[in-house]
Symmetry: C2
C-alpha cells in the first residue's frame, strides 16, 4: 500500500464515487476513500487536493481540448461550426469517462456545494471558449453569444446523454441539439 | 427610527450598496447598514433576511414577470419570439433599478460567495423559463435550448448595458443581441 501504482487515480475515483453514492458526499472521509481503494491517505493526496477534487479532476483537460478544437479548426469554419468542433472534442472526453459520468452527476445534483462548484467550472469553460472564439476573429458580443450557445447545447445534450438507457453517443445528441437550435433560430 | 416608513426598503438598499462599495461586502454588518440608513436593525430584518438578500431582493419579481410574458404572449408567437417577450419584460424591470444595477454588479463580481448566489438565481430563472416554454407547447429539449438561449442573451446584453456610458436601453441591446444570435445561427 502507498507505493505508486499506475491505476491508483482511477481506483481512488471509483472508491470515492461508490462511497459518495452509499453514504453521501458530506459524510465520506478521505481516509475511508483511501481504505476502500486499498491505498493510504498519503497516496490520495498525491492525486487529489481534497475529496471534492476527485469529482472535478479532468475538467481542465476537457476545457483544453474544447479550446484546442476551436483554435485549430479550418479557417473556413463558421461560428456555429467552431462550436460543433468543440462539442465533438467534448464527446471524445465524455465517452472516455462514461462509466463515471452518471454516478458523478447524481452525487453533484444532491449537494448544493457541489452544484455551485460545477457552475463555476461551467463559467470558466464558457469564458475560455469566448477567448478562443475571439482569436478566431469574432467580435466580443458574437464570441460571448456563441460560447454561451455552445455551453447551452453541451448542457442540454449532457442531460440527455448521461441517463440515456440506449447509450446514444454524446456526439450524436449534441449535433442533433445544435441542429435543433439552428432550426429554432431560423424559423423563430 | 424603527417605525414603518414607505421608503425604508430603498434606503436600506442604498445604504447597503454604499457600504459594500466603501468597505467591502464581507466587512459590513447589518447594524452599520441600518445606522447609515437612519433605521434600526429590527427594521432591517423586517425587509431582508440577511445582508446578502439586500442584493438579491427582487429577483423573484424579475422571474415572475419574465414567466408571465412567456405565458401570455399571443398564440402565434415563435419560440424565439417568446424569449423576446421575456427579455422585454426584463428590460422594464432593469430600467426601474438602473441606478442600483452597476454598483450591485461590481459588488457581486468581487465576492465568490455572491457570484455563486447569482449563478444559482440564474439557474432558477432558466428552469422557470423552461417550464413556461413547455406550457407553450415546446418539447423538453426545445424548451431547454430556448430557455438557455434566453439566459445567454440576457447575460450578454446585461454586461453591455450595465456599464454603458451612453445609457442605451436594455431592450434595444437585448433585441440587437437576439438578432445577432439569429444571424449567427442562420449563416453558421
Amino acid at each position: 500500500m502507498g507505493r505508486w501504482r499506475p491505476d491508483a487515480r482511477a481506483r481512488l475515483q471509483e472508491a470515492a464515487l461508490t462511497l459518495y453514492g452509499e453514504r453521501g458526499y458530506e459524510k465520506t472521509t478521505v481516509a475511508e476513500i483511501a481504505e476502500r481503494a486499498g491505498l493510504t491517505k498519503r497516496t490520495f493526496f498525491r492525486y487529489f487536493a481534497d475529496k471534492r477534487e476527485v469529482l472535478f479532476w479532468g475538467s481542465e483537460l476537457l476545457e483544453q481540448r474544447m479550446v484546442a478544437a476551436i483554435e485549430t479548426a479550418p479557417a473556413s469554419t463558421s461560428a456555429l461550426g467552431l462550436i460543433g468542433a468543440a462539442l465533438d472534442a467534448a464527446a471524445v472526453r465524455f465517452e472516455e469517462v462514461r462509466e463515471f459520468a452518471g454516478p458523478r452527476h447524481r452525487i453533484i445534483a444532491a449537494s448544493p456545494e457541489l452544484r455551485e462548484r460545477e457552475l463555476i467550472k461551467a463559467m470558466s469553460l464558457t469564458a475560455a471558449m469566448t477567448r478562443a472564439l475571439r482569436t478566431r476573429g469574432l467580435d466580443d458580443t458574437a464570441a460571448a453569444l456563441v460560447a454561451h450557445t455552445g455551453a447551452t447545447v453541451m448542457h442540454v445534450a449532457f442531460e440527455q446523454w448521461v441517463d440515456d438507457p440506449s447509450r446514444t453517443p454524446f456526439q450524436q445528441i449534441a449535433r442533433d441539439s445544435l441542429a435543433q437550435l439552428r432550426e429554432i433560430a431560423s424559423t423563430g
